[in-house]
Symmetry: C2
Subunit: 322 residues, 2 copies
Amino acid sequence: MDAVTDLKRPREEDDNAAAAKPACFSSVIPGWFSEMSPMWPGEAHSLKVEKVLFQGKSDYQDVIVFQSATYGKVLVLDGVIQLTERDECAYQEMITHLPLCSIPNPKKVLVIGGGDGGVLREVARHASVEHIDMCEIDKMVVDVSKQFFPNVAIGFEDPRVNLVIGDGVAFLNNAAVGSYDAVIVDSSDPIGPAKELFEKPFFQSVARALRPGGVVCTQAESLWLHMDIIEDIASNCRDIFKGSVNYAWTSVPTYPRHVYGVIGFMLCSTEGPHVDFKVPVNPLDDSSSKSNGPLKFYNAEIHSAAFCLPSFAKKVIESKAT
Amino acid sequence: MDAVTDLKRPREEDDNAAAAKPACFSSVIPGWFSEMSPMWPGEAHSLKVEKVLFQGKSDYQDVIVFQSATYGKVLVLDGVIQLTERDECAYQEMITHLPLCSIPNPKKVLVIGGGDGGVLREVARHASVEHIDMCEIDKMVVDVSKQFFPNVAIGFEDPRVNLVIGDGVAFLNNAAVGSYDAVIVDSSDPIGPAKELFEKPFFQSVARALRPGGVVCTQAESLWLHMDIIEDIASNCRDIFKGSVNYAWTSVPTYPRHVYGVIGFMLCSTEGPHVDFKVPVNPLDDSSSKSNGPLKFYNAEIHSAAFCLPSFAKKVIESKAT
């Protein structure tokens, strides 16, 4: 944990940036925010900071919002960039439409995490959806998003949304069996409060809450960095989801929630009507989403392309499937 | 150019890294190398340095090789990371096999740049190839690669390779008309010695040197960052290449030669037998490449997927095509 400790050490005397900036900002580049983590040792990404807009400590994590020089406003949780105004579209659109465009007429959707509201914004594009439950553990993330990221938090305004502040694992355990068409798990990395969301009991609860042939999409790390984690997730999923289990990936700029410019998703379906995730059956037409702006990233070709894996990853992920 | 100037300022007194490290190493994170450029203002990527292995100044650029903590050995030209042992496979395989797998039986290939030898290693996998010319401007890059990156420079050992140290533009101008099946332009970014390689006269020379229905693949920047550059390149290419003109992209970890974790390629063909780059007609079978190790990244699905663009890029690139 040395890197993280370093990140949070007090700023140096000769630092010429405003003294008002919080201590958890990097001391390594004065006036810059540097992101380091035991999840990606030996490297750091830094963004130039124009102004710190918010700094707080919730019951679960450190929350920071700053205005960056070239990425718009940036949300940081526990030292890790969660979204930037410049690139959030790719992640939010893909984690949402990969599952929802893979089944006909999704009606009831559960989002675990995703407290910034971006996934809700995307789910709301689907006219067939009648009800959206969201369970986010940290109210501060919701409040901060509403204050600083109105184009992301716009998702909360949809009348179909039922927001619950609480623990996603407990929420799922109390959910009615077979009640959801789709569950989207928009979590942070498996080293903090989200750790449980990568473990077998959680996937069992998800499977229980899904209808037969229902689908789940969960943030599943970058194949450039975390093939070991991905192997574990895939193996857990194969034990539990008796429909299909697939890994997809897509490009999201630099930041380590999306480590190495790419982020992966595990897409699984329960036993029941077969789901072929590689072939979207529920196209999104742009007119269905007037209020939330046009899609910036997702389209049907990008959907199918996301399942084409590089040889090194294919060998590991697909060999385990047989 | 402030960022670059900063990058090269002398290291600070309190820097606890070995004094033996060269001045162009970042002073901003002691013991780390930080990459900044006017090509990506407001952000920096940093790698932890174990040991500096080489530092030189050629007639064209600063050349550095260091052992990183987590990426193996790293080659840096003018402050920009060109390759790391950990991720070089993706770039080298894609820039080579996207063009060469799109035409049947490529026989004569020209590589402009690519002085590390990685593209040669990949071209050599194609049994149909009889002759490979390479024109690299900077001999120091070749020498350094041979010394420090034997698994990359292995490409120079192929008996079909004819290495010319010189200016790629001049080389092309002297090439026989219609003499190549494929030209691969493995250049750095369009702000240094490689500037000309992104301009119209250069593309004219390439088109002239290609046979009818011959193909070119050129490094064409990241669509997350440089849509303006890509639009210019695409527009220049459409004026000059009368066959097909396509943009492809792929994931390559963090580094700004591959800015934002992705790098793009412009693939064009001259008038003649039609080339549909999206459908590889010349599959590479692994047995054809025993000496150079198995393919790590490229496969036929990744080939086709590389042409699926996100909506924001599709709108810009494909609308200009009509």
